[in-house]
Amino acid sequence: MTQKFRLAEGGRINRDRPVRFRFDGITYHGYEGDTLASALLANGVRLVGRSFKYHRPRGILSAGAEEPNALVQLREGARTEPNMRAPQVALFDGLTAESQNRWPSLEFDVWSVNSLFSRFFPSGFYYKTFMWPASFWMTYEKFIRNATGLGKGPVGKDPDRYEQRHQWCDVLVAGGGPAGLMAALAAGRAGARVILADEQSEMGGSLLSDTSEIDGSQSADWVAGIMDELRSMEDVTILPRTTVSGYYDYNFLTLLERVTDHLGEDPDGKTPRQRFWQVRAKQVVLATGAIERPLSFLNNDRPGVMLAGAVRTYVNRYAALPGRKAVIFTNNDSAYDTALDLQRAGAAVTVIDVRKAPRGARIDAARAAGIDIEDGRVITRANGGKRVTGVIIRDLDESGKSVTGGSRSIGCDLVAMSGGWNPTVHLFSQSRGKLRFDELLAAFVPDKSFADERSAGACNGSMRLSDCLAEGLRAGLAAARDAGFNVRKAPTAPKADEAEVGATMPVWLVPSGKRLGRGGKHFVDFQNDVTAADLHLAHREGYVSVEHLKRYTTTGMGTDQGKTSNVNALAIMAELQGVSIPEAGTTTFRPPYTPTGFGAIAGRNVGAFMDPARLTAMHDWHVEHGAMFEDVGQWKRPWYYPRDGERMEDAVNREVLAARSAVTMLDASTLGKIDIQGPDAAEFLNRIYTNAWLKLPVGSCRYGIMLHEDGMVFDDGVTTRLAKNRFLMTTTTGGAANVLTWLEEWLQTEWPELQVYCTSVSEQWATVSVSGPYARHVVGSLTDYDKLGPRDLPFMTMAEMKVAGIPARVYRISFTGELAFEVNVPRRYGLALWQAIWEAGRKYGITPYGTEAMHVLRAEKGFIIVGQETDGTVTPMDLGMDWIVAKKKGDFIGRRSFARADTARPDRKQLVGLFTEDDPHHVLVEGQQLVEEVKRAPPMKMVGHVTSAYFSPNLGRSIALAVVKSGRERMGETLYAPRLGGGRPVKVTVTDPVFFDKEGVRARG
């Protein structure tokens, strides 16, 4: 237990619960309540990773979401995750982590040679290097990816559960620091439904690292009191370990809750690892705090150079001492708190303040504590390699742009820097909020809001604790009021430190006394290894827009999205351009705030839950009888029913032959069915379909095609007149929902005067289609045979009767071209009907068939399938179905488009049949292009394409349907179908698209 840098007391760690963990193969100890970063610091580990491009040694910079350096490969096997920010990884027993970007080890990294050649890796390196020849990119990329790379993705299936949840609330408070707690308390007391979310393991935010008092008690105790009250409120939901990751339109926000990440694994096999919340909030209070800025001095990336606020957090919250001899480098007051706390913790402290003669309560306190303050000075360089060993300081001259006087060296093992604070405006900006630049803070703060939200506390630019508390309270009250609550018992703002905070003096680029780029690097973006020299180069090369600058230099990219670098980079850019920082502008803040794993986004929508499988009443029978299934939309339809050892083509041929020689049965339940009622129902159909419907007799069926306004076929099906004012329309399986929407749209928006109601009954009915020469025998054996006679139930009519004792509608319609009966019964009887027909059909050799045989059978008959022969550019005339387009009945949807020149031109693609010439058994490929003349290589003039192609066992040869330019004038002509991947093009003859029973007598029998 050698936690050499663990303070003897203090911190919010549980010293009764020691925890073992491994980093780069070495076992360390920490405590429950530690993060990986705090535990590493307590163990004296300073080198935790290598940088992305130069492979420079890096340490822990921050204590939060902004961490650019300490990114680790967390855990192993299927649970491994790259780029995890060590300051945000909760420590658990057995945790394993590996450093990234190094090979073979962190201490000795081969790729650190990049650092020596760094002048060959300037801004825009990729763009400049890989311009030519393009084909070499593949080679370069492989090399570069190996040399850089940001960790490894898991290989195995994710073993954890991820939940999702929708939630509505009156007030969502993002951030549980002083402002957020007051906002939640105020809104909660008003009776609002409140969600309080914070990314940390406990609420309190900055107060967990603070030593100040609120209302006379320690800030941590004050937090505990507030939390007790919040927990007692039924409609306040408290979500620790939860990041508000995205803020979208209409106050829709996403939250990522890490439910069991901190435990290592799901404790009981049912608790999710993470939960993704989709929240719709009436009002939002943003209390997301602020992120400290680094200072850009020479070699500011050495391990041991940290943000001052982070150092304070490690000391106070985790009792981990990041160094024993500290130099504080600051341009503002806040780092003095760190200086005092470090000294209290036993470290030797020197403060370097860029400001000449700073004044204020904090500075006075530091002086009183005997801390040496070197004012008006800067660090011109940090010394050390794998950890900082000292700094060189010089005087800053009056311009603030260069140094003067002699240099002095100070030995140290820690540099705690503060370049000021950036309010965390990410969510505010995602909500479309506009920023303004605050000169006193030298930072962007929220200005104009466009959503139902308000910012409070540090994220609003208020850096004083008393201001944060008061602002949070006001924001919570206002949010509750705007959400419709009458605020009666408002809490009062608690008393806290009100000392004035001195101004920040921005020094965006700390002069080193040397030419920029010499003697070391001023890092601006640690994660992407972007230096001030890179920004200068981009400027010299003419980059003006901040968005271009970002992409060219990669500043602000990567997993941290520039949380510590963006403002520094654009301030340097603005200085170079001679414009103000707000004139230079910011890049766009995009969700998510921190990376969100795919597991949480996918939730339980994986495996069988990825997409619903829609099943018919007869599904289990199909499964039991060995059916192979085809996906038709979301439906699972039997594709074919192979017998033992049968190949697909054998099964399909057998099923197709049975339909024409004996009898077959098909589960046709999936077809769309719409009940259409009303005095104007027939007139409505007359306008929807291309053919005439007014005179269809009751009990009769008619095939119809419907078009979009452009005259192109969009669905087809048989519609039956059940009564004078009632029809039953069938649609394609895939088109059912769209057709109903289409009908409703026309009724509601164009023809409200028509008295018609449409109701979907697709699933009310289960349908068995019995088809083949013995169809009448089979169905007849289950009902009154005489009712099925050619005169009693002629082709294209319907009758209600009992089949197998079940009340049924029996339609004499046929998609196979054979004698067929479609028996419809209420769904609950579907399986019973199917089994009854199966039993009754056995003596006729009844064969169940699937969609593949159905397709072959209808292709033999030249019947189209919408979506196969049509693709949204095909008219009925193109299909040779002029007969279905009424010439006299008046208007219908799509009719007007037939007069368009393009729709009327004679060389449109028309439906034809194709026979292969050389090999009658060769089956063409659907989608295959057709040409008149074969050339050695494309391009060739294409005159059409194959839409359907099958082997027809009834013809004993292959058949195909195709659409070909002026196809009907090409009967007997030879065309060629070139093959993908070479091979001799297939020679084909253009034929009539009806291959079998051209007169259609069999279906009428």
Partner: protein, 190 residues
């Protein structure tokens, strides 16, 4: 012979939830009649009230209940009458008689949907995993219904009591998917 033909429901014999606080039970054949008509026409409203015992509700997403009949609002001119199993024929007949001569649509859709009754202290939490509606008691309670999505299935949700108990009407073809999804969603509470 109709009595001898075997009726099946899509969820027959399917393993349910193991969570006592989120129990699921199938009620496969509750009578359901889809009714369309003009709520501004008092003749229509009165006739429905006479046939069913309750007028079709005018307020969106509410349910009118009379005895064992419930009329669920589906749209400005559309309702679903839910009646005990086996009663749909009688209810349909009563509506047809009462609405004779009016422009209405009465369609028996009993078999199109099955009903999954979800009940228990965590029932709401289960629904909120996949339904974007606000189901908080302040926003949605007994006597209310809504059409929405649950996971990836279209559903009609009707809250029956404060337990809470919900009837989830779902198209039969989606019901196994939804049932398995619900059972899995309830696992967290088992």
């Amino acid at each position: 012979m109709a009595d001898t033909a075997t009726e099946t429901s899509p969820l027959d014999g399917r393993a349910g939830s193991r969570a006592d606080s989120a129990v699921i039970v199938e009620h496969p054949h509750l009578g359901k009649i889809d009714l369309r008509g003009d709520p501004g026409d008092t003749a229509f409203v009165d006739a429905v009230a006479e046939a069913i015992g309750a007028a079709p509700p005018i307020v969106a997403n509410t349910v009118a209940t009379a005895g064992k009949n419930s009329i669920l609002w589906l749209g400005p001119d559309e309702w679903l009458l839910v009646t005990p199993e086996g009663n749909q024929g009688q209810a349909e007949g009563a509506l047809r008689t009462a609405l004779e001569g009016q422009h209405v649509s009465i369609v028996d859709t009993t078999d199109a949907r099955t009903t999954i009754r979800l009940h228990g202290a965590n029932a709401r939490n289960v629904l909120m995993k996949g339904c974007p509606l606000d189901l908080h008691p302040r926003a949605f309670g007994p006597g209310q219904c809504a059409q929405s999505i649950l996971a990836k299935a279209d559903v009609l949700i009707h809250q029956l009591d404060d337990a809470p108990t919900y009837d989830i009407h779902v198209l039969c073809s989606f019901s196994r998917y939804l049932w398995d999804w619900l059972a899995d969603a309830a696992k967290e509470f088992s």
